[in-house]
């Protein structure tokens, strides 16, 4: 099931993505911010030097004198092991320093430029030579900024790493808290997982408010299911009862009538009896099927001895067999228990159905033999008769087979048996017997 996904994995994926994204953004913005602040600092230093030079400038006669402040330059040089440049000029006349320093593109004071192959920051300051003069003294101070860039990158990397570490810690914490927070949900999951199939009791453990609604909904659903099941069963029981009571009266009256009516009417009374019996049987089976479905959902299980069960069934079946003069023989010794874990009542009904079928279809005076035995992993009940044999495909034993002409040969019997077998990990095998008749083996899985 590849399309199963985990909340944790999803969170982690998004978290990881976020981590990368945040790191990149942090690195990038830190770089920008740090570089800008370093550059601003550098610009201020350059400006200070330029300003000192400008302030020191005086014009004596025709000579412009100014001072190149050693200490100011030293301070500038102290900040980073960078090359420093300067130039002093009046208008276009170069007075001192480096002649080939770049000029700013516009009227900006601070600018960066590539000078002698290195990124360099320059500051240009100027002032009139004396107040009101059109001649302007211009001072350019420059400093390479390689180490500033390296430094800003280093700082940005450190910040990014710090953020990365912080986020990783956060992620670990998130993982921890997620696990912690999901614990009640997992507990509910375990609770549901370990529940018996038909356990519709509400979940009563303390749950966090976030999943309280979920649990409420679950409990409501449980309630509804249980209610529906019960209702359904009650309805079928009621319906069956309602159908069967009048049939019972008809049947009983018909039977009495059979003995009293004249010869020529007797056949139609008999037919009436057969059909009434069939209707009654169908009603019984509908109820049986509903009951078995219910029990299956509810999942009733107990340990019992299959041999004892079978012999008890045989005892109750014996009168029916006796009417037909059919022999019922249990071949297995009654003191050899075959222990089975399952729904005793459903299995009892299945076996009853099976033997009932056998009695029904086996000719009068023949014998039905029943055997209970155990294989490696199955407990089996084998019913052997001398009936006409089964012509029905077991795979189609899921409902009414209305194609049969003889109404008594129709029913849910085999479908019910199959269902019980399946719900116990077993199956119904029908095979023909040598010399006529069939053998039905009903097996159940033994854990």
């Amino acid at each position: 099931m590849n399309d199963l996904w985990s909340i944790r994995r999803r969170l982690f994926a998004s978290w990881f993505l976020m981590l990368i994204l945040v790191s990149v953004v942090v690195y990038w913005s830190a770089n920008v911010v740090v570089e800008r602040s370093l550059r601003e600092g550098q610009d201020r230093n350059l400006q200070a030097v330029a300003q000192v030079i400008l302030d020191s400038a005086v014009k004596i006669d025709t000579v412009i004198e100014f001072e190149l402040p050693y200490q100011a330059f030293e301070v500038l040089a102290y900040s980073a092991p960078e090359r420093i440049y300067y130039a002093v000029s009046v208008d276009t006349q170069h007075l001192s320093g480096y002649r080939d320093l770049p000029r700013p593109e516009a009227s900006v004071n601070a600018f960066g430029a590539l000078y002698r192959g290195e990124p360099t920051r320059f500051y240009v300051g100027s002032k009139p030579i004396f107040p009101g003069s059109t001649e302007r003294l211009r001072v350019v101070v420059g400093q390479t900024e390689t180490s500033y860039q390296t430094e800003s990158t280093t700082i940005a990397v450190w910040i990014a790493v710090a953020v990365l570490v912080a986020f990783t810690l956060l992620a670990l914490w998130a993982e921890f808290s997620l696990r912690h927070a999901l614990k009640p949900v997992i507990e509910i999951e375990n609770d549901l997982g370990s529940r018996a199939a038909g356990d519709f009791t509400p979940i009563i453990r303390q749950v966090p408010s976030e999943v309280a609604r979920l649990v409420q909904t679950l409990n409501r659903t449980f309630d509804k299911h249980r209610g529906l099941l019960e209702e359904n069963r009650a309805f079928i029981a009621q319906a069956t009862h309602q159908i069967k009571t009048p049939i019972a009266a008809i049947l009983t009256r018909a039977e009495l009538l059979e003995k009293e009516v004249e010869e020529r009417s007797r056949d139609s009374v008999k037919d009436l009896i057969v059909r009434a019996r069939y209707a009654s049987k169908l009603a019984t089976q509908v109820l049986l099927r509903a009951t078995i479905t219910y029990r299956e959902i509810v999942g009733v299980r107990e340990q019992f001895d299959l041999t004892t069960l079978v012999s008890s069934v045989l005892r109750t079946m014996d009168p029916s067999a006796e009417i037909k003069e059919v022999g019922l023989t249990l071949l297995s010794p009654e003191d050899t228990p075959v222990v089975l874990d399952g729904d005793r009542i459903a299995i009892r009904e299945a076996i009853t159905c099976l033997i009932d079928n056998a009695i029904e279809y086996t000719p009068a005076l023949s014998d039905i033999e029943i055997e209970v035995y155990e294989t490696d992993n199955e407990a089996c009940v084998s019913v052997m008769d001398r009936g006409p044999g089964f012509t029905i495909d077991i795979a189609q034993l899921s409902g009414f087979d209305t194609s049969k002409k003889d109404p008594s040969h129709v029913g849910l019997g085999l479908a019910i048996i199959e269902r019980v077998a399946k719900s116990h990990g077993g199956r119904l095998t029908i095979s023909s017997r040598e010399g006529g008749g069939s053998q039905c083996v009903l097996s159940f899985a033994v854990s």
Partner: protein, 333 residues
């Protein structure tokens, strides 16, 4: 002793550059040459080179002794790729060359502590002292600081003492030291004024100034390289050293690999040897890097800081202004 060779050095310069060389020396006789140009007297660096080639048997050191200005000129006009290392005591020029991009980086870690940008390495430190003729200067023992010196000279105004110091116009080191004095001591100009009030005769070199004091031509020489003085003390009983209590300057000797140099590995080896304990031990005791921690008389040593700020000292305009002021002190007493 100075001889000038203006020639086409076939092995060095294919671009037919004239190098003004003060001396050419070889250490070792291995076929692979490492060419060093430097300002130091060969005798001072020879033991280190010797130690180096004894370790690196496949290398021969070829040392070209030149003035710092000549080195500056040569580097700026484009060096031959054969030159592997430039060693100089003119730290301001060295720094400017590095600042202007004439150097390439040493291997990592080599220039970390005592250099700049990983391109300039300090391999030696030369303290600067003042020397005097003890016979001529009576009561000079009490002079401990430059202020003491100024007061002493003022009191001795009638005696016309003969003083000498580096002529900054002639000597790069002299200019560097004077600028550094100005950085350290705002009263330097007044000290110079006091000097001028006596008989002041600026000089080109430490050696000459020591000679003059020993000969009795000068009574006091201000700012002399200590390493030149120490060997002379024994033979000159009147020669005494004054190590000021306020501060003592020291000149770092530095080296860099020229940008054009094509085999930086041997230069790296050589410099690594220079700063190693063994290399340092082969230097004269007073010029080792650890001299700053050495237990010696006088005040704190203030080595000239290796900083690109030194570049401004070399500015033409700045120089011009310096010399205007210098000349006012020196020529108009």
């Amino acid at each position: 002793m100075r001889f000038v060779v203006c020639c086409v050095l076939i092995t060095l310069s294919f671009q037919a550059k004239c190098l003004e060389i003060e001396g050419e020396f070889f250490v070792g006789d291995a076929p692979n040459q490492i060419v060093v140009i430097g300002t130091a007297d060969f005798s001072r660096v020879q033991p280190v080179f010797a130690g180096f080639v004894s370790e690196q048997k496949e290398l021969q050191v070829r040392y070209l002794q030149m003035s710092s200005r000549e080195i500056d000129r040569a580097v700026r006009s484009g060096l031959s790729p054969d030159i592997d290392l430039v060693m100089s005591s003119a730290v301001d020029l060295q720094v400017r060359l590095v600042n202007d991009g004439y150097a390439k980086a040493f291997e990592p870690g080599l220039a970390a502590d005592s250099g700049w940008r990983g391109e300039l390495v300090q391999y030696s430190l030369e303290p600067v002292v003042t020397i005097f003729n003890v016979a001529r200067l009576v009561g000079f023992e009490r002079v401990r600081t430059r202020r003491d010196l100024a007061r002493f000279l003022e009191r001795s105004s009638g005696r016309s003492l003969r003083l000498t110091l580096y002529d900054p116009d002639v000597s790069g080191v002299g200019y560097l030291l004077s600028r550094q004095d100005l950085v350290q001591d705002e009263h330097f100009w007044s000290l110079l004024d006091v000097f001028s009030a006596q008989h002041l005769e600026p000089n080109c070199c430490s050696g000459d100034m020591i000679d003059r004091v020993i000969n009795g031509e000068s009574d006091l020489a201000y700012n002399v390289l200590e390493s030149y003085v120490l060997p002379r003390l024994e033979d000159a009983p009147n020669l005494k050293i004054l190590r000021f209590d306020d501060y003592q300057l020291a000149i770092p000797r530095t080296a860099f690999i020229p940008k054009q140099a094509d085999g930086p590995e041997s230069a790296n080896k050589l410099v690594r040897y220079f700063v190693s304990e063994e290399g340092q031990n082969r230097l004269a005791p007073g010029v080792r890097l650890d001299v700053i921690q050495a237990n010696r008389k006088g005040g704190p040593i203030k080595p000239i800081r290796i900083t690109p700020a030194l570049v401004v000292h070399l500015d033409d305009m700045n120089r011009r202004r310096f010399f205007q002021r210098w000349n006012r002190s020196v020529q108009d007493p």
